[in-house]
Amino acid sequence: MNETRVTMLIQQWLQGELSDAEFGELERHLKTDPAARTAFLRAANLDSALRDRAARDDHMRAWLAHQPARPSSTRKLFWPWGLAAAAAIAMGVFLIGGVRPRSLRPALEATAQGTAVLTQTIDAEWAARGPRRTVGATLPPGTFTLQKGLAQIEFFSGAALVVEAPAEFEIVSSWKVLWHHGKARVKVPPAARGFEINTPGMKVIDLGTEFGLDVDRASADARLQVFSGEIEAHPTTGRQLNLTQGQGIEQRGTSISPLGTVRPQDFPGLDHMRDLGRERAAAQFARWQAASLAQRRDPRLIAYYPMQPDSTSQRLVRNLAEPGDALRDGGAVGAAWGTGRWPQKGALEFKGAGDRVRLQLDGEYQALTLACWVRVDGLDRRYNALLLTDGYDPGEPHWQIYENGRLMFSVTYEDPENPAQRRNQIYYSPVIFDRTNTGRWHHVAVTYDNRSGAAIQYVDGVEVSREVHRFHAPDRPVFFGPCELGNWGIPLTGHQFPIRNLNGRIDEFAIYSAVLGAEEVRAMYEAGRAE
């Protein structure tokens, strides 16, 4: 066989780029030549291995896309700027779904209008109007007013900005920004050469560099300082100036004068953001830890899984409700340990169709509260499991997310008129999960009281639904028994929706034998929230 030719044909087949004639040629080789078949199988195996490998790296990439300057704790990665932006786009625009991304595509097209990703903020407060400004959000063109704090914005072009409040600017595209006033440090990698910032009196074109820009709100006077590389400054009046490292200019009205010194330390940069971000994460983690230690002593707990990986057994998911009950420890199947709300926090990642945590929770209860921190990466299934009892026998609850993004709590009982039949009491929340909040940590909780029949659902500490089901009859007990987190144990042969694995992460799960009050749910959220 002509090895080079066959190699080329195989590579193009994998890419879906073969013409009909070339395809025929490849097929002839495969039919007659065992060496060609071996080469083909090898290449397909590599293709598959690379895809598995890339999926496995997802969690790392998600973290890096949020904090590009921070090396991963588990494996050091070089991360070129253009790629960081590409990965952020990949995450934000067309790649939220893990297992079956195709089903999410129609909904995702809408965000293709984005220009940049808000990757990190420190104490940021934005003027109230306008699109969402949560970390991880894709920013559409428009005007942004930062009233307080710091914000890091990474443009799809590759340019990155650290903005210090007070500041106001308008994003025109991923290549162009109008800077009304305020302070920014701009970093432009070679791939984003030509990135343009317009101040009231000047157009600045970046030729691959790092520079500081400060525009006074009242006078619109501007100062420009180059820390590395080169920029072109085009004043509205006057000639073009080329500035290189260590040079700066000051514009007052129509006059332009050179600056004696440049002061990079006056402009908070990516390193500064990273350090502050680390400090912030460490402080929040410590706050959560303290709250978690207090929470474990709550006698109403049936089980409490703070989900920190255990050094003695990677597969053990410890129940840390006090006094300890090892019989209620969980067993992780498939699900791998990843990063939780903060880099210090562990989480179990549910990706594969078999991933789950097995639990055995005996007892009979009159009320319950389920509460967990979850990061939903995509709603791949009709039903996406949080906690599901195996049999769903009378008195057993199910807690899951329906494919349309509604939380769904249910409990089944026998039909009093026809005991052979079951009646499902299903309680839906409004739509909670959509493409704007997948990939982020949320606190979800539900309480159920078998006397009043009320099920109350909470998201991020706020009540989102409250309902007494029409099938409710008082004082029927609740059971768990064998059950699991993130999947469904024993669906029957031929069941219509047997696969219910969650696509996402869980990093804390608490199960109570009582109804927690709204204040308590709120406090749990406040103690564990990550900025």
Partner: protein
């Protein structure tokens, strides 16, 4: 919907065993389907269908025989069925070639894990930029053209780069396996 939630007591306790087998064979099964189907989204569809059918038929699986061979035969049938239903002819191999590929793919299950380990070593040998560029295009659901554009490459240039890197990896893997065998 209510009916879908109504489940009588479980009668089949092989589920955990099935899931464990499926999870441990899934990568290999996916690679197998990749040889038969021209597109990753086809692979994902057929894999899902295959898992469901395999679960339904799991009672008939003979313990002690090869799970891979068993589920691969289901997957092969499902792949053909899938292509037939969609009337897809373009870039789909003839049944004869498919049969050859399927038989050889199942027969060479042994080197599979070795190849994966060799891949890890070879990925390490690539430059960081190349490795990341390559893996970026493999993220599940990634659309090649968009990734190429966002990485600041022309689509054709990006294709060429990826192909070149893959061929380099194949050569490297072959070398690694040769050394292992010695």
């Amino acid at each position: 919907m209510a009916t879908s939630l109504q489940d009588p007591a479980p009668e089949n306790s092989g589920y955990t065993e099935f899931v464990q087998l499926l999870v441990s064979h899934e990568p290999r099964l996916r690679a197998f389907l990749r040889t038969l189907l021209p597109d990753w989204s086809d692979v994902d569809e057929v894999l899902q269908e295959t898992s469901l059918i395999a679960w339904q038929k799991f009672g008939r699986f003979e313990r002690g025989t090869s799970f891979m061979a068993w589920i691969a035969s289901i997957a092969r049938f499902e792949a053909l069925e899938y292509l037939r239903q969609r009337g897809r002819a373009r870039r789909v191999f003839s049944p004869e070639v498919m049969a050859l590929l399927a038989d050889e793919a199942i027969a060479r299950t042994e080197p599979f894990e070795h190849e994966r380990h060799a891949l890890e070593r070879c990925l390490e040998k690539l430059g960081n930029t190349q490795r990341e560029l390559l893996l970026l295009s493999y993220r599940p659901g990634a659309r090649f053209r968009e990734v190429a554009m966002q990485a600041g490459r022309t689509v054709q240039g990006y294709y060429k780069t990826i192909q070149r890197v893959r061929v380099r990896l194949l050569d490297c893997i072959r070398q690694e396996l040769k050394e292992e065998a010695v």
